[in-house]
Amino acid sequence: MDDVLYSIRNLDVRYATRFGDVLAVEDVSLDIRRGEILGLVGESGCGKSTLGKAIMRLIRTPGRIAGGELWFDGNDLMTYSDKQMRDVRGGEIGMVFQDPMTSLNPVQRVVEHLTETIRTHEPKVSDLAATARAEELVEKLGIRRERLDDYPHQLSGGMRQRVMISLALALHTKLLIADEPTTSLDVIVEAKFLDLLRELRDEFDLTILMITHNIGVVAEVADRVAVMYAGRMAEVGDVYSVFANPKHPYTTGLLSSVPNIDLAEHDLYKMEGSPPNLLRPPTGCPFHPRCPKAMEVCARELPVFREVADGQSTACWLYNEAEVSNG
């Protein structure tokens, strides 16, 4: 069996606006490996959520997938019909969003959410059997089965997020996409939720793509990390290598601007400027106007994204010197 579950190749996502196309995701390639927790980080507007949606082909007009390939478990999703995609979504690929309250139906009991999900995808399952499955599932997630008869507003924030996960896992999910799943949670609840994610990964053989702006959360749970900037992939690598030895200057800056409660004294790095306007991205490397190590070539040409150390890839001219000299 291939150890890559989902493979994104040269993906372009564009949004049409009256000022022209916004390149929300540009030329992104990324492999999600079986059984891993991959942390996808970046600041707002970097395209990380768009990438998460594109993986499920959930980009709606005025957006569109303008190019690239999406391979899930050996299947070319770009050739799938809408009907086939509907079966994949919520079936083999599940998704959890930031705010559970807006994702749950306020006038539906928790149990109805679950049985509806199961029976939509598996119409042959009886209502009774679906309820039994729902009960078993929520208990695994630490919710007492009596709570299934509650409405979403009767649950706490942490419990709602568990319900969201149970919805994602109700079918035979292989890949779970979690988009800022802990952002609306308090730290203690967040920490418990992260523990739960790790347990679920082991118990259900899950692969998890965790989209977040919270670097601490990625350090806590991820096996590998992917850093996006201005619609492009800046760096990908195993979490220990990237945190210990970031290659891209943006990653370096991002990591050292995160407050760390554990270090005795260290000043926060203050990154100059702000992320670029994607309607008119800078020429060359999109990070060059803010980059402390920018060279003349950076403003002119895009660096190639490639492996620069064992298991660590980046798009930066600092590591592309060979090509520069070869002209």
Binding site: E220, P259, I261, Y269, M271
Partner: protein, 342 residues
């Protein structure tokens, strides 16, 4: 001149819960959300005082009570020697230029139809009627430069939607600064900003503090950020302060089990430091019917039956250090011998 800019003494704020029609005519007892339940602390001149806790802990309500944006249910707030509760509305209005507030979401705090310049000028029109138009305009430009928005003339005519999120928060700070306040209540001022922008905003806050002799009440849920700015910190749980002290003492030697849990739960941006400490059970309880005795006892790993669930703990000095106070029966006071971790 008092050493304390703000003294919060036994402050309580209960919000009535909306009752249904039937409850009203059957005379069911009125219920209250005990948002703030007997809080005492002081903010010293020139310090950054942190107030931290989870959502629902009452930290933002305390901030509003300090500004008298809410009236207290009980207790008093003394600002520079004056009991704010004793002031008439007109007197309070004249006091307001000395205290300003910065909220989390700058877009919600700014009027979309006012330019940056008009926004910053507005408080000066109200609170500084003696200034001439030219003087006021010059002051606005000076404030813009002060918060790093240069060239000031360029930003003067911009509307909030034309500038970045970080710049918007700078405008909110400039608007707060123009009346030369003594106190700024900053309620999650950087929570909306991107990581790379946060450090710059914190830097700006500290710069303004140094230049204008400011005092801050810094309200946050993020202990990691608090570490970089606060001199002293109070940890709130369910409307009460459970621990208070100098920041480095509280962070290195937290005594309250809740403070400990909160500190342990903060994700550390270093994969080599994965958390191992167990987390407290359950979630923050309903503030309408808080648990009896110590609020935290149902979740507390060291709670002792008969004490923690019956007797209200009070803030007491830790090992005789009057700067570091903890509200826990097992960590201060007469029941310390019962602490299972001792």
């Amino acid at each position: 001149m008092a050493e304390n800019l703000v003294e919060v003494v036994g402050v309580t704020k209960w919000f009535p819960v909306a009752q249904g029609f039937i409850d009203g005519i059957t005379g069911a007892p009125k219920q209250y959300v005990r948002a703030v339940d007997g809080v005492t602390f002081e903010i010293r001149k020139g310090e950054v005082f942190g107030l931290a806790g989870e959502s629902g802990s009452g930290k933002s309500t305390v901030g509003r009570l300090v500004l008298r944006l809410h009236d207290v249910t009980d207790g008093k707030v003394v600002f520079d020697g004056v009991d704010l509760g004793s002031l008439s509305n007109e007197e309070m209005r004249r006091m307001r230029h000395r205290m300003q507030v910065v909220f989390q979401d700058p877009l919600a705090s700014l009027n979309p139809r006012m330019t940056v310049g008009e926004t910053i000028e507005h408080p000066a029109r109200i609170h500084m009627p003696d200034l001439s138009d030219e003087e006021r305009h010059a002051r606005v430009l000076q404030m813009l430069e002060q918060v790093g928005m240069t060239p000031a003339e360029f930003f003067y005519g911009k509307y909030p939607h034309q500038i970045s999120g970080g710049q918007r928060q700078r405008v909110v700070f400039a608007r707060g600064m123009i009346t030369a306040p003594d106190l700024i209540v900053a309620d999650e001022p950087i929570a909306m900003a991107d990581v790379s922008v946060r450090a710059l905003l914190l830097d700006l806050m500290m710069q303004l503090k140094a230049e204008f002799d400011l005092t801050y009440l810094f309200i946050t849920h993020d202990l990691a950020t608090a570490k970089y700015v606060c001199d002293r910190i109070a940890i709130m749980y369910l409307g009460k302060i459970v621990e208070i002290g100098p920041l480095d003492v509280v962070f290195s030697d937290a005594r309250h089990p809740y403070t400990r849990a909160l500190l342990d739960a903060v994700p550390v941006p270093d994969p080599k430091h994965r958390r191992t400490a167990p987390l407290p059970a359950g979630e923050i309880p309903n503030p309408i019917n808080p648990p009896p005795g110590c609020n935290f006892h149902p979740r507390c790993p060291i709670a002792q039956a008969g004490i923690c669930d019956g007797i209200d703990p009070v803030l007491l000095p830790v090992d005789g250090n009057t700067e570091h106070l903890v509200s826990c029966h097992l960590r201060t006071g007469e029941y310390q011998d019962l602490d299972p971790m001792r």
